[in-house]
C-alpha cells in the first residue's frame, strides 16, 4: 500500500515548535493556489511503512550480490559511522576556511590516496557518480585540445564492449562516437584501431575499461594507448573495473591520461538503491590545469582551497558528494597499502574460482584461461537447446535469494550473465551459489517451464514492463 493511502487527516509528527515571532504575510499573488497532499502520518506508522518497504528489497546484507561491473562488495559499518559524525554533517559548505580544516584534510588525503592507486598526479572529488566522472574526463580532454587550437578533434573511440554511459557521456561533451569492434577474444582489435587512428587528426581520444566488461585484462594496453597518443589523442580510463587491479596495475602506467573511479564500487561505499555515488576524476600533469572545481592543498599542516588556472568550470555545486569521500577514506585507511592489493587479489581469486566451477555447465564468453574480477557466461546454448534464456536463469536466482549477475551485458555477448563475486564473499557463500547455478542449469533441461515462470517466491512475479512504458503511471493520483 502506498504511503498516501495510509495518510489520515489530523495525524502528524511533532517535529517543529510553534513560531516564536510574528507571522509575516507574503503577497497573495505569490501564494500557493493548489492544495498539498503530503502524507499525514503518526511516527509509528511511518516507521512501519519503511520497514515494510525494506523487507521488499535486497541489499548486500541480505545475500550474495554478484552484479557484474557494479562491485557489490560488503559495505563496512565503520564507514557509515564516520560519515555520520556531526563534525562532518553539520558543516556548511561556505564556512570560513579556517573552520573546515578537517573537511579539507579529508579531501586532500582522499585525492592523494586515489592518485597513488591510479598513478595520476591530481584528483577532483567533485563528480557525483561514474557517468558524471566520464563527462568530466571528456571535458578535460576537450579543454586540452581546444587550448592547443585543435578544434577539429571531436571524435572519440569507444569499444563495443563499453558501458552505455561512455557513448552517452561523449555526446554530452560534444563529441562524435566511433565504435570499434572487439576481436574474437573480446579485446580491442589493435589493427582496426590502428586503421582508424593513423594520421587522423580528428581523434579526440579513446574511452576504455581495463579489465574490460568481459573481465579480461587487455595485454595490448600499452600499444593501444600509444596508438592514440601517436595520432594526438588522449586516453580515458573508465575505472568501473578498478577493483581487479589495485596495487597490480595502474591506469597511469598503462598510458591513460585521465581516469574516473567509482567510490561506490571499488571503495566500499554503499549504493543506496542507486546513489549517492561518487565519481572522482584523476589526471596527469598536462591536464591538471583544466581540472574543475576546487581542490585541497596543504602547507605546514594548514589546508586551503586551490583552483586550477584554466579550470573548465564546475561540475556540480560545492565539492562533490563529500560524505561518500569520508566513507571511502575510512576504508582506504583501514586496508592501507597492504590491504588494497590484497582485496584485488581475492576479488580475482573468487571470480576465477566461480568461473571454473560454473564452466562445468555454462559456456564462458571468450573462453579465457584466467579472468580478472568478473566473467561472462554465455547462455546461447541453453537458449537454443531448452528455450531458457539468461533472463530466466536470472529470475530463477531470485527464488534462491541471490541477486542475479548483470544481464544482457556486454552487448558483444547475446545471452550474457556477467558475474562479479567480489573479495568479501567466503568460499562457503560461493559454493552455495555455484550449487544453485548448476541446479538451475539442470532445471533448464528437465523442466524449462519452471524457469519461465520464475520467480514465484518474491513479493511480486514478473512485471509487465511493456504495459508500464506504453501507459505510463508515474505518480499516485489524489482524488
Amino acid at each position: 500500500m502506498l504511503i498516501f493511502e495510509k495518510s489520515r487527516p489530523g495525524r502528524g509528527c511533532s517535529a517543529i515548535p510553534a513560531c516564536d515571532v510574528e507571522q509575516y504575510t507574503l503577497p497573495d499573488d505569490d501564494m500557493r493556489q493548489s492544495d498539498l497532499h503530503l502524507p499525514e502520518m503518526a511516527e509509528v506508522d511511518l516507521s512501519r511503512h519503511y520497514t515494510e518497504l525494506a523487507k521488499k528489497a535486497h541489499g548486500v546484507n541480505d545475500g550474495f550480490y554478484p552484479l557484474g561491473s557494479c562491485t557489490m562488495k560488503y559495505n563496512p559499518k565503520i564507514n557509515e559511522q564516520m560519515a555520520g559524525l556531526d563534525g562532518f554533517t553539520q558543516i556548511h559548505p561556505l564556512q570560513p576556511v579556517d573552520t573546515v580544516q578537517g573537511c579539507l584534510q579529508i579531501l586532500k588525503e582522499t585525492e592523494d590516496a586515489l592518485s597513488a592507486i591510479t598513478g595520476m598526479s591530481n584528483f577532483t572529488l567533485q563528480p557525483a557518480a561514474g557517468a558524471h566522472g566520464e563527462f568530466t574526463g571528456l571535458l578535460l580532454i576537450k579543454a586540452y585540445h581546444l587550448s592547443n587550437g585543435d578544434t577539429q578533434r571531436r571524435k572519440i573511440i569507444v569499444p563495443d564492449s563499453a558501458h552505455g554511459t561512455n557513448p552517452a557521456s561523449a555526446v554530452m561533451a560534444g563529441m562524435e562516437v566511433i565504435n570499434v569492434d572487439s576481436d574474437d577474444k573480446g579485446l580491442v582489435d589493435v589493427e582496426k584501431l590502428r586503421q582508424v587512428c593513423e594520421g587522423n587528426d580528428e581523434i579526440a581520444g579513446l574511452m576504455l575499461t581495463n579489465p574490460n566488461t568481459a573481465g579480461l585484462f587487455d595485454p595490448n594496453i600499452k600499444e593501444i594507448t600509444d596508438i592514440i597518443h601517436e595520432c594526438g589523442g588522449q586516453c580515458y580510463y573508465d575505472g568501473a573495473n578498478l577493483n581487479a587491479v589495485m596495487g597490480w596495475a595502474r591506469p597511469g602506467d598503462m598510458g591513460f591520461d585521465c581516469v574516473h573511479l567509482n567510490l561506490h564500487k571499488t571503495f566500499s561505499t554503499p549504493h543506496g538503491g542507486g546513489g549517492p555515488g561518487s565519481g572522482p576524476v584523476g589526471c596527469k600533469e598536462h591536464l591538471a590545469k583544466f581540472m574543475p572545481g576546487v581542490y585541497a592543498v596543504e602547507k605546514d599542516g594548514v589546508y586551503d582551497f586551490a583552483k586550477a588556472p584554466e579550470s573548465l568550470g564546475e561540475m556540480k555545486n560545492f565539492y562533490g558528494n563529500f560524505l561518500v569521500a569520508v566513507k571511502a577514506l575510512t576504508y582506504i585507511r583501514m586496508l592501507g597499502k597492504e590491504g588494497i592489493p590484497e582485496a584485488s587479489k581475492n576479488a580475482v581469486l573468487n571470480a576465477n574460482y566461480m568461473m571454473k566451477k560454473l564452466s562445468a555447465a555454462y559456456d564462458i564468453a571468450f573462453k579465457p584461461e584466467v579472468c580478472m574480477h568478473e566473467f561472462v557466461m554465455d547462455l546461447a546454448r541453453q537458449a537454443k537447446e531448452t528455450g531458457v534464456t539468461a533472463m530466466d536463469i536470472a529470475k530463477g536466482l531470485l527464488d534462491n535469494n541471490i541477486h542475479p549477475p548483470t544481464m544482457y551485458f556486454p552487448l558483444t555477448v547475446h545471452e550474457a550473465l556477467m558475474a562479479e563475486p567480489c573479495e568479501t564473499e567466503s568460499k562457503e557463500t560461493l559454493d552455495a551459489a555455484i550449487d544453485v547455478f548448476l541446479s538451475l542449469n539442470d532445471i533448464a533441461y528437465s523442466n524449462p517451464e519452471k524457469l519461465h515462470q520464475a520467480p514465484v517466491k518474491t513479493p511480486v512475479t514478473r512485471l509487465d514492463e511493456v504495459g508500464a512504458a506504453r501507459h505510463p503511471v508515474l505518480k499516485y493520483e489524489f482524488e
Binding site: 502506498l2 509528527c13 578537517g102 571535458l139 557513448p167 549504493h271 582485496a343 513479493p459 508515474l474
Partner: protein, 437 residues
C-alpha cells in the same frame, strides 16, 4: 592491516589448487610486465577499525560546528526529524543497487514512486524523475534537454546561485549550446532586458525563484515572455521549502521545475550528498533524464513498480540517450520522502512560514540597527548593505559561535533564516552586530 576478506589463507590455497594455480600472484601473471606495478602503494599501512575510527574522528574534530547559522546561499540548515536518519540507516535500503531486478526491489521502487508523487505534488508538475545529483546539475540537465533542432540558445537569469550558473556553463561547454545571461536589475531579473533578448532560436528561459538574493521574481511575466517564442520552455529553479506556501512553478506557467532538494531532510554535509529534483509537464516526459519509476502489474495482476520509459536512457540508447546519468541520489530521495511524510502538508507549511516570518523579523531588526535591506519582497534570504565592514560584522558573530550571512562584497551580506533560528538567537545576533563599529 584491516581486511574484509572472509576467506582464510587455507581456504585461499584450497581454492587456488582447485582452479590449478599455485600462488595468488599467478592470477596476475598475464598482465604484461611493462604495465605491472611492482612498487608498494604510496599509502599508510592499514589499521584496525578502532584506530581508523580514532583518526577520522580526530579529523572531524578540526571542523567547527556553529550553534547558530544564518547562512544559506544554496545549503540550508533545517530541522531533520529523527525518523529520517533511522530509515536511512536501514542496511537493506542503504546497500541495495539500482533496482534493475524489480521483483526483489519493490521496496526501493515504491519509495521512488512515492518520491516522484511528492515532487509532483509540491511543484504542480505531471512527471518527476528519480533525482539527479544536485540543484546545479538539475539546472544543467534541464537546459540541455530543452535544446531543439533549431533552438540552441539558453537564456539564464544573472540572479541564480552563482555555482549553478557555473554548472550550466559547464554543460553548455560540453554540448555547445549558446548561453546568454539575462542581466540583473535592482537584485532581480531584468524583465525588459529579457524581452530584448528573446529570439526565435531561444530554447529556454531559466530563473531561480526566490532568486539567489532571496527576492521574489516576476515569475509569471517572465514565463509569458518565454512562451512568446514557439517551443521555448520556461524552467524554474525553486527552493522546495517555499512550495509549502508559495505558488507552484506550474501555477507560474513553468514547463520544468528543478531545484536543490537538500532542504528536505538532508544535512549540510559540507555540500554533499544533496539531490537535484526535476519535474516537467506531461508533454516533456520523454525528454527527462535519469530513472523514472512507473506502476504496473505482475503476471498475477498484482500491483508493482518498475523502472520505465527506459528508451530515454544510456544503457539502452547509448549515444542517443537523453543524458548519460546512471547512478543518481536514490538514498537522498528516500530521505526526502521520509522527511515530507514526517512533516506532512501542515508541517511543511509551518516550516515555510516560519522561514519567511523569522527572516522578516530579522530583517526588520537589522534595519532598526542601521542596515539597509536591499530586497523588496523576499522569502527567507535577504541582502543587507551597511557602512560596517562585512568582515567585521561576521567576525563579531563568529566570536560568539554564530555563523553570519554570506559576504557578497565588502559591505553587503546575504542572510538566511530557517525554523532553526529562534527569536532569542536572532535578537542576540542583531545585538552583536549593532555594536560593530
Amino acid at each position: 592491516m584491516g581486511t574484509f576478506v572472509p576467506n582464510t589463507k587455507a581456504q585461499q590455497q584450497e581454492m587456488l589448487k582447485e582452479i590449478g594455480f599455485e600462488k595468488l600472484d599467478d592470477l596476475f601473471a598475464h598482465i604484461p610486465d611493462a604495465v605491472k606495478f611492482k612498487d608498494e602503494l604510496d599509502l599508510p599501512s592499514g589499521m584496525s577499525e578502532m584506530e581508523a575510527g580514532k583518526e577520522i574522528r580526530k579529523i572531524a574534530a578540526k571542523n567547527r560546528i556553529y550553534d547558530t547559522v544564518f547562512r544559506g546561499a544554496g545549503a540550508y540548515r533545517h530541522y531533520i526529524p529523527a525518523i529520517v536518519g533511522s530509515v536511512l540507516s536501514n542496511e537493506t535500503l542503504q546497500t541495495a543497487y539500482t533496482p534493475y531486478q524489480a521483483e526483489i526491489s519493490q521496496g526501493v521502487l515504491q519509495s521512488i514512486f512515492e518520491y516522484q508523487t511528492m515532487i509532483c505534488d509540491l511543484t504542480g508538475m505531471d512527471v518527476s524523475n528519480a533525482s539527479v545529483y544536485d540543484g546545479g546539475t538539475a539546472a544543467g540537465e534541464a537546459v540541455a534537454m530543452c535544446r531543439g533542432r533549431k533552438s540552441n540558445r539558453a537564456l539564464v537569469s544573472a540572479c541564480i546561485q552563482p555555482s549553478v550558473m557555473k554548472v550550466i556553463e559547464t554543460y553548455c561547454f560540453g554540448n555547445e549550446m549558446e548561453l546568454v545571461v539575462i542581466p540583473e536589475k535592482d537584485g532581480k531579473t531584468d524583465v525588459e532586458a529579457l524581452k530584448e533578448l528573446m529570439t526565435e532560436d531561444t530554447s529556454c528561459v531559466l530563473i531561480q525563484h526566490p532568486n539567489y538574493y532571496g527576492s521574489l521574481e516576476d515569475a509569471e511575466e517572465i514565463g509569458e515572455i518565454a512562451h512568446s517564442v514557439k517551443n521555448c520552455r520556461f524552467i524554474m529553479s525553486v527552493n522546495p521549502i517555499t512550495l509549502g506556501t508559495m505558488r507552484t512553478p506550474r501555477e507560474y506557467g513553468a514547463d520544468f521545475a528543478v531545484g536543490e532538494g537538500q532542504p528536505l531532510g538532508l544535512p549540510l554535509a559540507f555540500g554533499g550528498p544533496f539531490l537535484g529534483f526535476m519535474a516537467s509537464v506531461d508533454s516533456m516526459k520523454r525528454n527527462l533524464p535519469g530513472r523514472i519509476v512507473g506502476q504496473t502489474v505482475d503476471h498475477n495482476g498484482k500491483t508493482g513498480y518498475v523502472l520505465t520509459l527506459q528508451a530515454r536512457e544510456q544503457h539502452i540508447r547509448r549515444e542517443k540517450a537523453s543524458s548519460n546519468i546512471c547512478s543518481n541520489q536514490a538514498l537522498c530521495a528516500l530521505a526526502v520522502g521520509v522527511y515530507l511524510s514526517a512533516m506532512g502538508s501542515e508541517g511543511l507549511k509551518n516550516v515555510a512560514s516560519q522561514c519567511y516570518s523569522k527572516a522578516h523579523y530579522m530583517a526588520q531588526k537589522l534595519a532598526e540597527a542601521g542596515f539597509e535591506i536591499e530586497n523588496e519582497e523576499f522569502f527567507h534570504e535577504f541582502v543587507t548593505s551597511s557602512d560596517k565592514k562585512a568582515s567585521d560584522v561576521l567576525k563579531a558573530l563568529d566570536d560568539e559561535g554564530i555563523l553570519g550571512g554570506l559576504p557578497l562584497d565588502d559591505n553587503r551580506i546575504l542572510w538566511c533564516c530557517t525554523e532553526m533560528n529562534t527569536k532569542i538567537d536572532i535578537d542576540k545576533a542583531v545585538a552583536i552586530v549593532k555594536e560593530v563599529k
